[in-house]
Symmetry: C2
Subunit: 328 residues, 2 copies
Amino acid sequence: MVRTASWVLKKHFEGFPKLSDFELKEAELPALNNGDVLLESVFFSVDPYMRPYSKRMKEGDVMLGSQVARVVESRDPAYPVGTFVVSAAGWTTRFVSNGKDLQRMIPDWPNELPRSLALGTIGMPGLTAYFGLLEVCKLRPGETVLINSAAGAVGSVVGQIAKTAGCKVVGSAGSDKKVAYLKNLGFDVAFNYKTVRSLAETLKEASPDGYDCYFDNVGGAFSSVAMEQMKKFGRIALCGAISLYNDKEPQQGPYLQLSMILKELCMEGFLVTRWENRKEEGLKALLKWVMEGKIKWHEHITEGFENMPAAFLGMLKGDNIGKAVIKV
Amino acid sequence: MVRTASWVLKKHFEGFPKLSDFELKEAELPALNNGDVLLESVFFSVDPYMRPYSKRMKEGDVMLGSQVARVVESRDPAYPVGTFVVSAAGWTTRFVSNGKDLQRMIPDWPNELPRSLALGTIGMPGLTAYFGLLEVCKLRPGETVLINSAAGAVGSVVGQIAKTAGCKVVGSAGSDKKVAYLKNLGFDVAFNYKTVRSLAETLKEASPDGYDCYFDNVGGAFSSVAMEQMKKFGRIALCGAISLYNDKEPQQGPYLQLSMILKELCMEGFLVTRWENRKEEGLKALLKWVMEGKIKWHEHITEGFENMPAAFLGMLKGDNIGKAVIKV
């Protein structure tokens, strides 16, 4: 009998999540039927979206999330033992699948790349950067882009795609180490929003003409300042709002409608699932850029499934440079 | 020597404009050169945009705005005496033009229509409704549209265009008389936002499935509630923000980013000037709908140039049903 360990949401988060909101549970897995496979998680992802989406869960549910997993027992010839897949089975070490909810790794995955990138730069966060920048921001060569949370899994890819498109890229991050990382990635300007004297002045200095595109991972107060620095007909892609996820009471800020009218700004919220049918195109483009060295990647790896809640909290606090990954 | 009377901005508005912020001044006009015409204003327009745009003026400037005017003396054969034009000469009874800033009335203006409609339903406000609804909201047949300030010059046209497109139209206005007017125009649901018990519940009851499009003339607190009632992939056209124009301190409300992401909403501010090159198309469509009885119009007429500041204040307070016009 095969056993699995899972982190469940013991208690709905109130404000910033706590370790005590999670509980580690063990369970027995059912025997495999014909067509089933048994999988073992190899890498887990922790992502900001898990915080708002946890509201849709019931207490006691296995935490939602995705992993790279390996087939360890198979009654489905399409998935022989040793096959690697991406799955959304949640925070659980082993699971049984009938194959329908599994995504194969991109074909010809290069040996030199860790498979964990399928959870990051060549996975959902990379696709989020790709479609958000190209389809929502509708970035054009030579434009100026502002990105916050720029050293994160999505932001760091956004900035590098924008550089391949010949754009000027300005990035905000929360530590000097992250700022150094962004400069190393080729960002034209990078700054630590926690230590600048004035965000408005910093943004103005970085691009006195303003910004054509603003790729927003943060929302809230940062955005209210950034919106005032947009150029006429600027586009704002709302990808995340990490500054708002842990609110007990909704935060407030100035209404943006009047500036949006006078400058004819367009602000659009998006989820990467919108481009499910173009996933292959996106993954291929990202893989190509990675192999060409045009997109560099960095992972913040936490070892041990037992440390997964701590890794999640650390990611929400901004401990990670690049993608936060848990290695089992 | 020809004299003119003008209303000038004596003092920049602080909060809600006051009559004492305006001053009536007289002046002599220069003699006509070759190519010049002398015009006499016949109808003036007062519009919400004048409130925010006044910030760009200097104290002592003639108030900005447009009028229907008639050529009373001409040294330009292209504009013989008796020609009617639309001009943006501001709040002034007579003025000299070299013709470059004049717009001819739409050709074959029907005798049965007052020329003042060129300032309203078949003019800038009508075009604002037309392009905002079709190009920004990207309205599709069968969708549900929410319009606030719906009995105003723009809102009333938006609702009627949406009805011609086979849409369900829900309108909000500030008096029971306006609500009756909207029902008469064919709005499916109309309500008085000042007297409903709960705006959220009223919106939900009017369209339990939510709204595909929200044509926003008001901004501020109304919008924060309306945004929660949008359907997935809803579009919000920001046309005006009359609830914010008179702020001394910026009003605040909850940040909208998170709902915009989860529902993938798109919010765009716009100015009708964007479609300057499609003006003729828009005016022809509006004229056709008016002649077919598909778009009804209503004017709130103030008699006398001397009452123009009061008419402006009244319009900002919402005294008008349909277009606020001043007849000289």
